[in-house]
């Protein structure tokens, strides 16, 4: 302390103020003790000024106290008071005629000096404190990584921190004390948010500048925040979030404003990218050809696209918050539930599956749906369905089946008709011819031998034609099939084969035989006919077997031979042999009757054709 004290004493002594005080005291002493020091009467110098020696002397005692207090600090002020007191005391006790009054006066002087000192001290302290505070603030703002600047009531920039320097590219020195804060953000002069705050602008006024991009700060009273794009900053401009709040003095008056900024370019671009991708997803969702809808575990629809609305005949609005019950029948619901249970249990589900929906207008639509489980936080949350309307396709398919059936029926009818015509008409006519010829030849007319022979030859030829016609008729449609049934027809055909090709064919019947629907009998007969014909023509077989099994609800016919067999291709549809084509055509007809046709063949081992039809 002693060194500190001596240090400060030294400093004080060095200060010119000290000497000013000393001089003033010196003059004060002289004026206080004029007779004693200068042996003169109070100088009348000051009378011209209207001041008594007394007043002047007081001035030269008071002033140094205040001066010392003001310029040299409270300690100097107190010391000065002490010195002033020391100066005045001798006079009181030694010279003054009225020492109590003098003491009283002195006390007054000291008091005033003390008070003045105190006041100076407070003021100085206040000032110092304020200075410290200010310096602190500047330090904080300066050192903050948040770009900030402060303007005063005159819109001059009083603070411009390092962060905003690097953000804006404007150095502190260039902008401080200027009103060019707009330069950092805009191309032309306009108020920044801080300017508006400082002017105490109303919300409306602020809105005119920033539109709906700004709003009142919820944290700070009187502050506003906004987001805006500044094309001047950075390479391609930056998105900034800025907050400006007023700086108020102790009375609440606005004396300045502080604005802080944040570079939100990255976030903004990410937001925009997200919006864009969301939009493009939405576009995709909306414009998708397939119906897409998502519903929760209870079946409440959460989102649906236009195609989905079209599928079920409701509007998108009607679908939102509707339940899938709206367009699913009891049966469809049952299927839907089954699928969903499987999905939740992670069981495999064959996708897509066929489902029927009821449209708003009551019509039924058929669609193929792929359903997926949506999991959130590890828990099943919803189901996404993507469906395609296949009603038309199905109808077309059904139509095709119908047409195929019709064509087949017509074809068979035609064959039947022709067969009958040949049989009842042509054959009969030929028989008539034969008989007439016979009669001609038997008539007791004298036919020369040669002519008779010729006629008999004609007779023979006509018989051959008759046979051919009969055969055509039978091949087209053996009436035995219609009149007596499948088994007699099969018996007949096996006998024919034996007669025509020398192929031994056995016929075996299993189960209780019965008549079947004409369609089935005809088809089965045709298949056997075709298979045996192939065997006879191509297989070089010696034996063939036909087995007919009558079951309760189906009939199975197997035709096998011990011939050379043939190479089975990948699928029946590519069978190259012309003869086999007949069987390929049969497959369609078998499917029409909801049956199945299978051909098995191994080179050198023979061929087996098996057909099964439910009846």
């Amino acid at each position: 302390m002693a060194s500190g004290l001596s240090g400060s004493v030294l400093r004080v002594i060095r200060s010119p103020h000290f000497w000013a005080v000393a001089v003033m005291f010196a003059i004060g002493i002289i004026l206080h003790y004029p007779q004693q020091i200068l042996s003169i009467e109070s100088p009348s110098l000051f009378s011209s000024l209207g001041l008594t020696r007394y007043a002047v002397e007081r001035i030269f005692l008071l002033v140094p106290i205040g001066y010392a207090g003001f310029f040299l600090g409270i300690k100097a002020g107190l010391a000065s008071s002490a010195i002033a007191l020391a100066i005045m005391l001798p006079r009181i006790f030694l010279i003054s005629l009225y020492p109590e009054d003098a003491l009283f006066e002195t006390g007054g002087v000291i008091l005033i000096g003390g008070l003045v000192n105190l006041w100076f001290y407070m003021h100085r302290k206040d000032k110092a404190q304020r200075k410290i505070a200010e310096e602190m603030l500047v330090k904080i703002i300066d050192g903050s990584p948040i770009p900030s600047f402060v303007i005063n009531k005159q819109h001059q920039v009083t603070l411009w921190n390092a962060a905003i320097e690097s953000l804006s590219g404007i150095k502190r020195e260039a902008i401080i004390r200027t009103t060019e804060q707009w330069r950092a953000f805009y191309a032309e002069t306009r108020p920044v948010m801080a300017d508006l705050i400082v002017d105490g602008a109303s919300a409306n006024e602020i809105e005119t500048y920033y539109g709906d991009k700004c709003n009142k700060s919820l944290l700070i009273d009187g502050a506003y925040e906004a987001e805006d794009f500044s094309p001047a900053l950075g390479n391609n401009g930056k998105w900034l979030h800025f907050t400006a709040s007023p700086i108020r003095d102790n009375n609440g008056e606005i004396i300045g404003a502080i604005e802080t900024l944040g570079d939100i370019t990255e976030r903004k671009t990410a937001e925009e990218a997200l919006l864009k991708s969301e939009k493009s997803f939405r576009d995709l969702f909306e414009s998708a050809f397939d119906a897409i809808w998502v519903h929760d575990l209870e079946g409440n629809i959460q989102v649906a696209n236009e195609a989905a609305a079209k599928l079920v005949g409701y509007t998108v609005e009607e679908l939102y918050q509707a339940n899938i019950r709206l367009f699913l029948t009891e049966e469809s619901l049952k299927l839907a539930r089954e699928i969903k249970v499987k999905l939740i249990q992670y069981q495999p589900v064959a996708l897509p599956y066929e489902q029927r929906v009821i449209r708003k207008d009551g019509r039924e639509a058929i669609c193929m749906i792929a359903t997926n489980l949506i999991i959130s936080d590890g828990k099943p949350k919803a189901f996404q369905n993507i469906a395609r309307d296949v009603t038309e396709e199905k109808r077309m398919h059904e139509n095709l089946r119908y047409y195929l059936r019709e064509i087949t029926r017509v074809q068979e009818e035609e064959r039947k008709r022709i067969a009958r015509e040949l049989h009842d008409g042509t054959a009969q006519n030929l028989i008539a011819l034969l008989r007439q010829l016979e009669n001609l030849l038997s008539d007791k007319t004298k036919l020369p031998m040669r002519e008779a022979k010729a006629l008999w030859s004609l007779h023979e030829q006509i018989r051959d034609v008759l046979q051919e016609v009969r055969q055509f008729s039978r091949d087209l449609r053996p009436s035995i099939l219609d009149d007596l049934g499948l088994l007699p027809a099969l018996e007949w055909i096996t006998e024919e084969l034996k007669g025509n090709y020398g192929l031994e064919t056995s016929l075996k019947v299993v189960g209780s035989e019965r008549r079947l629907p004409q369609e089935a009998e005809l088809l089965l007969f045709r298949i056997v006919q075709e298979a045996l014909s192939n065997t006879a023509k191509h297989a070089q077989a010696s034996k063939a077997k036909v087995k007919v099994e009558f079951d309760q609800d189906k009939i199975k016919v197997t035709i096998s031979d011990n011939g050379i067999g043939f190479q089975l291709p990948e699928s029946l549809g590519t069978l190259p042999y012309a003869g086999k084509l007949g069987l390929v055509g049969m497959q369609e007809r078998v499917q029409l009757l909801r049956g199945s046709l299978k051909i098995e063949s191994e080179l050198g081992k023979g061929t087996t054709v098996s057909v099964e039809v439910p009846v």
């Binding site: 009969q428 030929l430 028989i431 034969l434 008989r435 007439q436 009669n439 038997s442 007596l484």
Partner: protein, 236 residues
């Protein structure tokens, strides 16, 4: 002409000089040709021509021909149906059915209906004439192999056993003749076997036909089978 009425007739059926024939065929030219060829035979008399089944039945009723040659497929009433109906009032008529198929499945119903035999439609006139003569004489019209197959079927057919024994109806001689006829022996063969003349055999057959109410050998044999008088084994 005799107004015989089947079973009630006790008179012997003799192979007469003249055989009355009824033709039933819807194809005009065929029918005409047949008629022309039949008329060439000295002891054949075509007494009527029918062009449909109903007409055939009606004419048969009226004319009582010995032999009826009938097409199986005719309008209004088919051959099998007509056969049944004619047989109902004239069991002694011998009906030959013209068929398109000689398939046994088709033949069986014919014979079950009471036909004496069948012929293919394109049968020659000569064969037709021969068949008419044969059936009238009581000779077999069916080919033995076919006959066998048919008889097999009748064995499985519903038995029409009336409880009567063969001996109740026929004499021992007649049974013997019938048995041999069932075996497929020709009249001359039977005659030889029994050391009788062919005429006698024919006469026996006539009586048997009358007693059984049939018009041909085939029918007689079938009747016997139905009544359970013979077994197939006995006949082989």
């Amino acid at each position: 002409m005799n107004e015989t009425n089947g079973l009630a007739d006790s008179g012997k059926r003799q192979p007469r000089k003249e055989i009355t024939i009824l033709l039933a065929e819807d194809h005009v030219v065929v029918r005409e040709s047949i008629r022309r060829s039949l008329e060439r035979e000295p002891n054949f008399k075509v007494v009527g021509e029918a062009s449909d089944g109903e007409e055939a039945v009606e004419m048969a009723k009226r004319l009582r021909p010995d032999v009826i040659v009938m097409d199986i497929s005719m309008p209004k009433l088919n051959g099998i149906e007509a056969t049944k109906q004619i047989k109902a009032f004239q069991p002694s008529a011998a009906i030959l059915v013209l068929t398109a198929y000689d398939y046994e499945q088709y033949i069986f119903p014919l014979l079950a209906a009471g036909a004496a035999g069948y012929l293919l439609k394109d049968v020659s006139s000569r064969e037709l004439i021969s068949a008419i003569q044969t059936v009238h004489k009581g000779e077999p019209v069916l080919h033995p192999a076919v006959a066998r197959k048919i008889l097999k079927r009748f064995r499985h057919a519903k038995s029409e056993s009336t409880g009567e024994e063969a001996s109740d109806l026929l004499t021992e001689r007649e049974i013997a003749v019938l048995k041999m006829a069932a075996k497929g022996m020709s009249n001359s063969a039977i005659a030889q076997e029994l050391h009788l003349s062919v005429r006698t055999i024919e006469s026996y057959l006539g009586t048997i036909f009358n007693k059984l109410g049939v018009g041909s050998r085939t029918e007689a044999v079938i009747q016997a089978m139905r009544r359970g008088w013979f077994t197939l084994e006995e006949l082989s």
